[in-house]
């Protein structure tokens, strides 16, 4: 239970079961992890801390989200037109 984040990242197989999203519709799971990754980056950068913990969210969204969605959102973030709050 007290695995460090590095161990968790090393042992990563695929996105684990997330009890917040127990049902068939996993759209929100993908979106939430994507948004959490960027929020985590923003928060930890502001504090000047290491960004490694945020890698977990990245691994999960990369597993779950279709690549076309990720590229579209990445573009929107670059343009400043991403609808989510980061």
């Amino acid at each position: 239970m007290s695995e460090t984040i590095q161990e968790k990242l090393n042992n990563y197989k695929t996105a684990p079961f997330d009890a917040r999203f127990p049902n068939t519709n996993q759209t929100r799971n993908c979106y939430q992890n994507y948004v959490d990754y960027h929020r985590c980056n923003k928060a930890l950068e502001a504090k000047g801390q290491d960004l490694t913990p945020c890698q977990w969210y990245m691994r999960v969204y990369k597993s779950l989200c279709p690549n076309s969605w990720v590229s579209r959102w990445d573009e929107q973030i670059e343009n400043g037109s991403f609808a989510g709050k980061i």
Partner: protein, 230 residues
């Protein structure tokens, strides 16, 4: 794959499909027994020479033929609910594969580690080699390791599609903007064919899915080769 004049299900390729097959056999047997009984009753009553004109009602038989069907129905309902909940069991998948429907092909992404993506188009009939199956073969098969729980996330890029294969017992709708999850496990190695199951335009019948379940070392070889070729 299905055979000509086949009337039953194809052999199960996953434990869940096996359960569904057994349930279907059980329920069909119940239905056949009831239908036989009813048919027999109808025939004998129709062909009987004697008629009782004074029978108006009968409480006893009414009670019996209400209670007995209720009991029969519980014998059907209990296995049915068991399988329903079994299908929703939380599993710990070993691998996540995204299947996206397009007009008119499927694309697969394996992005847990490296990013492996490829498209799978149907092999046209004139390009089939001897022994291949018409309208079922795809130029790239979705390879999975055998006996590993797999999470499949199904979506679509344009219109509605449906990712279906009878042998593992999978049918998941592919809806643009939505990610539908299903988990399954191939019980034995083999190639399992499926076809798009939601009308999606001119070539709806010509976008099959071929899943190939192989032992883990073969799967690892295949992923390395596919990534190199990409």
């Amino acid at each position: 794959m299905a055979h000509p004049t086949q009337s039953g299900f194809q052999d199960a390729a996953s434990p869940l499909m096996e359960e569904l097959l057994h349930f279907h056999d059980h329920t069909l047997m119940v239905i056949l027994m009831i239908s036989t009984l009813v048919l027999y009753t109808i025939i004998t009553m129709t062909l009987a020479k004697l008629t009782d004109m004074l029978v108006l009602d009968s409480q006893e038989i009414e009670v019996i033929w209400t209670i007995l069907p209720a009991i029969v129905l519980t014998f059907i309902a209990l296995p049915s609910l068991r399988i329903l909940y079994l299908m929703d069991e939380v599993s710990d998948p070993h691998l996540t594969i995204k299947a996206t429907g397009h007009q008119w092909y499927w694309s697969y992404e394996y992005s847990d580690y490296e990013n492996l993506e490829f498209d799978a188009y149907m092999i046209p009939t004139q390009d089939l080699t001897p022994g291949q199956f018409r309208l079922l073969e795809a130029d790239h098969r979705m390879v999975i390791p055998v006996e590993s729980p797999i999470r499949a996330l199904v979506s679509a890029e344009d219109v509605l599609h449906s990712w279906a294969h009878p042998r593992p017992g999978i049918k998941v709708d592919a809806i643009p903007g939505r990610l539908n999850q299903t988990t399954f496990m191939a019980s034995h190695p083999g190639v399992f064919f499926g076809q798009c199951s939601e009308i999606c335009g001119a070539n709806h019948s010509f976008m099959p899915i071929a899943i190939e379940a192989v032992p883990l070392p073969h799967f690892e070889n295949w992923t390395s080769l596919m990534i190199e070729d990409a």
